[in-house]
Symmetry: C2
Subunit: 191 residues, 2 copies
């Protein structure tokens, strides 16, 4: 089954951007570029919410990050069409769509951007990996990496190392990423 | 000058306890115990806000963590006395008190507990080090490690390693930890 990864650069206090979306505090090092280059080889699909799409489109992205062979899905209940090329609008339930996507053939899947969209997927248990490039700064406020998924999400650390520039890279597998089938199994055993 | 450290075990989403104060998710490993044992050798003073004191006192602590030779200061504008032994109530401005304490002879100083008290000290620029034992879990909600200090705090990563149990230990020096004198110097130059 395809792996769904939620990854981002964030501050030590858990923000992926300043309140106005600015990411001027990001450090671009060869270490981080190497991690990203490896990662782009692994994936062929990007998922994002409307807000992230609008930021990405404004920066000239939003259509697969400029990489050939990348499909991008933008999830929104309010938009009716998207101006960007190579981008598919999804208006149905995100978790159900992603569950189906994971079963279809393809490479891994990247969840990009803000806390709201990622929260809904974390809550639904469809995210398999979380990777953070933690930057050496407290921003104080901004767009949060994590919003409350209303359930505890247990993780397994798979990588932890310092990068150039004082960043800390941590990667996790999500335990019990698919709670719904487990609950069903439990009920079956109890019956 | 004595070093002031703010350290804690926290979840990946930045909480030091559940909303009700519970820390049942903490993992106690020999790695973490060794870090704490080294740390206790470095310090002779603990600073905490009223809320943390009340939790610590309820757990049988609050008087130096049970260690001989540790002085504990509890900061509160509302309390008039403390029942605990070996604990000193400080009702004056915390930042000014800590600045003076750093100049006095002694070992290093530990800031313990919740976000409110640490925020005021981070905002005032009197914290020199931040050490986190990041646990492999998203709690979703709880008592935050960091609240907005209303200024960017730049850090320098000094340690980053995986601990047993899937925890990630990161340690930082705070850059420009004393902003107030810098602002005064700027004004002097401008005049």
């Amino acid at each position: 089954m395809r792996i769904v990864t939620y990854g981002a650069a964030c501050s030590l206090d858990g923000f992926i951007a300043r309140p106005d979306g600015a990411v001027d505090w990001l450090i671009f090092t060869k270490d981080a570029q190497a991690i990203m280059a490896d990662y782009w080889q692994r994936i062929d699909t990007i998922l994002m919410g409307r807000k992230t799409y609008e930021v990405a489109a404004g920066m000239g992205g939003g259509g697969g990050g400029g990489s050939a062979g990348i499909r991008t899905f933008v999830f929104s209940r309010t938009l009716t069409s998207l101006p960007g090329k190579g981008v598919t609008l999804v208006r149905e339930d995100a978790a159900a769509f992603v569950r189906q996507l994971k079963q279809s053939p393809g490479k891994d899947i990247c969840v990009m951007g803000g806390g709201d969209f990622a929260r809904s997927l974390l809550a639904a248990g469809v995210i398999d990996e979380i990777g953070l490039n933690v930057h050496p700064v407290l921003l104080g406020s901004g767009i949060p990496m994590f919003l409350d998924p209303k359930r505890q999400v247990d993780l397994e650390l798979t990588e932890c190392r310092a990068l150039a520039g004082g960043c800390a890279f941590v990667n996790y597998k999500v335990r019990q990423a698919v709670p719904a089938p487990r609950q069903r199994a439990k009920k079956q055993r109890a019956s």
